[in-house]
Symmetry: C2
Subunit: 150 residues, 2 copies
């Protein structure tokens, strides 16, 4: 059982942007701070932009910023959006070969369990993640360059 690095990176991007908010950040900058692939991160950011969690600005002085306040960004919804099409078990997918499928209740139980997984994460927002207790530590860990002190 695992979630993709794609989703992992998406959460890291949101954390970074939340810490720097309202200052924008660039993909290059975020990739360097986490020491992760810039190319992969580009696709993650593009997806986050498509589903409306961030706003991107092209060109010189462009960058990425949160599309709304951290309090209004739900962690579970991010994960749900990025993971909902994943094939948890073979019978969720298109080339399912399991002969039991027509009469098997497991698929419903797995769908239910996956829903509970998402619901559990939906208790938290980006603001909770960047709660005051952690905020300064995280800014330090990421060495985030601030124009105006937080």
């Amino acid at each position: 059982m695992m979630i993709t690095r794609f989703t992992d990176y998406a959460l890291r991007v949101m954390a970074y942007l939340g810490l720097k908010d309202p200052e924008p950040a660039t993909i290059k900058e975020i990739a360097e701070r986490y020491d992760i692939s810039k190319n992969h991160l580009m696709k993650v950011v593009h997806m986050l932009s498509e589903i409306g969690f961030v706003h991107t600005t092209r060109g010189k002085n462009g960058g990425i910023r949160l599309s709304r306040a951290a309090e209004l960004i739900n962690i579970g919804q991010i994960v749900r959006t990025l993971e909902q099409h994943s094939v948890l078990v073979e019978c969720f997918g298109n080339n399912n070969q399991c002969v039991l499928t027509p009469s098997c209740r497991l698929k419903h139980w797995f769908a239910e369990a996956m829903e509970n997984f998402f619901l559990s994460l939906e208790k938290y927002t980006l603001a909770d993640l960047l709660h005051e207790d952690q905020q300064q530590d995280m800014i330090r860990l990421l060495a985030i360059p601030m124009k105006s002190p937080a």
Copy 2:
């Protein structure tokens, strides 16, 4: 988000054994009915035996059978046992590189969500899976050879 085929196969084995109970089944037979890799299935059965869900008997006329009544075999516990060591996100594993880890609450939230996933599945037993509404259909779908009629 996905569970391994290993766990998937484990559940199929349990279903098969439950349907045939108390008759034993062989690995060869189960692999053929589901049309899946016999080699992989051997490892799955071996694991199921190690963790006590099935009893295996070697030698001629040997085979596999449930270790206890289907009512006492919990679906969620099977999944939990086989998936609990999986690395859901990078920070769950040994070569975690994420600099945020010391101050990041996400790992707790993910652990909680995973726990809820398991708890959700733990509502069901093997007996529920083989409930009378489905039982005969499943036996037909698998063309299970019965010595004594169920």
